[in-house]
């Protein structure tokens, strides 16, 4: 009898804990959890001074009033960021012309500001035909502030042992009010386009 009670107690508590710990069996990885979390409670993006591939300096808050699709890159990246770069290109090509650069801006921020100086950013911009009026390839002008930004976006960057980095690549959407509202797979442009379509 005591066994039955104890077992039932363990199973009930345990299922409850597992249910809560996976957000109701919806998120099993850190990546899944943060996406769910951001959809539920959008968070403000911290202020950060950026320098883009044309050399001009501006703050992230300059994008207030329009949607921003953002990814994190480093220009030497040979795998994920290429796909992510192509995804951003496809988003650009898929957006209605009147929205591009006015209602919606694209932004790639390097998390390797020591290596990624102006020439590297320019090269990257050329590779994707990114024009500063709709797509800025940028680095943090003050690299000390970068960790706070990565923290907000919950980007974990670890050296891959070959001089590059391993990072959780994704597409981030910031709303006109400066809130990070959604995270999408780095290889799924149609998901981002679909999300933006109903939101002027």
């Amino acid at each position: 009898m005591r066994t039955a009670l104890a077992t039932i107690l363990v199973l009930l508590t345990g299922t409850g804990v597992l249910w809560t710990a996976t957000d109701g069996a919806r998120a099993f990885t850190t990546e899944g959890a943060r996406r769910l979390d951001i959809r539920k409670s959008p968070r403000p993006v911290p202020a950060l001074m950026l320098q883009d591939h044309t050399g001009s300096r501006f703050g992230l808050e300059q994008f207030r009033g329009r949607w921003v699709v953002l990814d994190f890159i480093y220009t030497r990246c040979a795998d994920l960021c290429i796909t992510a770069g192509n995804t951003l290109s496809e988003i650009r090509d898929g957006l209605p012309e009147e929205r591009l650069g006015r209602g919606v801006s694209l932004l790639s921020i390097s998390f390797d500001p020591t290596h990624d100086q102006l020439p590297q950013l320019e090269y990257y911009a050329r590779r994707y035909r990114a024009h500063a009026d709709h797509w800025s390839i940028a680095r943090a002008s003050d690299p000390d502030r970068l960790p706070a930004l990565l923290d907000t976006f919950q980007v974990t960057v670890i050296p891959d042992g070959w001089g590059g980095y391993e990072h959780n690549a994704a597409m981030y959407v910031i709303d006109p009010g400066g809130l990070l509202v959604a995270i999408f797979d780095y290889d799924d442009p149609s998901a981002v386009l679909g999300f933006l379509e109903g939101r002027p």
Binding site: T3, A6, T7, V10, G14, T22, T29, E31, I158, E166
Partner: protein, 202 residues
């Protein structure tokens, strides 16, 4: 008492910051060494528990069921990638890991294992194999990382080790299941007269 001391010593060593960091540096070290060793420390502590304490615990552990439920649920919790990440990024989760694996997996496992029926033990083993292979398949085929703190090649390595581990356990289990574990030759000897009526009939 020797077991108790051994278990506590093993736990103490695993908790030393340099050892802890060394194991957590790689995904394989974290999942396949640190976590099993923490469980092992609990098993040893369980072994060394004073008789009175064991009796009190076993009173609510008929057929080892309560213990098995605890083991399965706690193991499931730590099998989720997000909790491995969390234990690397937050102290609370790390402490939780170090306490729950010996207390809620190791000790109950030791207390319950021999109380389970033979079929129950077989079921646990077969499910373990299935789980190892499912995880291995997941790790080998996932195009993205399941843990943000580990590289994708580490993930693939863990996948390969899990595959191999499942294979080794499956082989051992098959051998155990079909070949009686008596010393060679015993079965062939004629049975000596036995007081057991069931045996005398043969």
């Amino acid at each position: 008492m020797k077991w108790m001391a051994g278990g506590l010593l093993l736990f103490g060593i695993l908790a030393l910051p340099p050892i802890r960091h060394a194991f957590e540096q790689t995904m394989a070290g974290h999942m396949l060494l640190q976590i099993p060793l923490l469980v092992l420390s609990g098993v040893w502590i369980g072994w060394g528990l004073p008789a009175g304490k064991r009796k009190a615990l076993q009173a609510m552990n008929g057929y080892g069921l309560t213990g098995l439920a605890l083991v399965v649920i706690t193991a499931l919790f730590w099998m989720l990638p997000r909790h491995l990440d969390a234990s690397l990024e937050g102290t609370a989760y790390e402490i939780g890991k170090f306490l729950s694996l010996p207390l809620l997996v190791g000790i109950p496992l030791q207390l319950s294992w021999r109380r389970l029926t033979a079929i129950g033990r077989g079921l646990v083993w077969s499910n373990l194999i299935a789980m190892l292979w499912v995880l291995s398949w997941l790790y080998l085929s996932a195009p993205v990382r399941v843990c943000n703190n580990y590289r994708i090649d580490e993930q693939a390595l863990v996948g390969q080790i899990l595959l191999l581990l499942g294979f080794v356990i499956a082989t051992a289990l098959t051998v155990r299941a079909f070949i009686p574990s008596r010393p060679a030759g015993v079965a062939a000897r004629p049975l000596s007269p036995s007081p057991d009526p069931a045996l005398r009939k043969t």
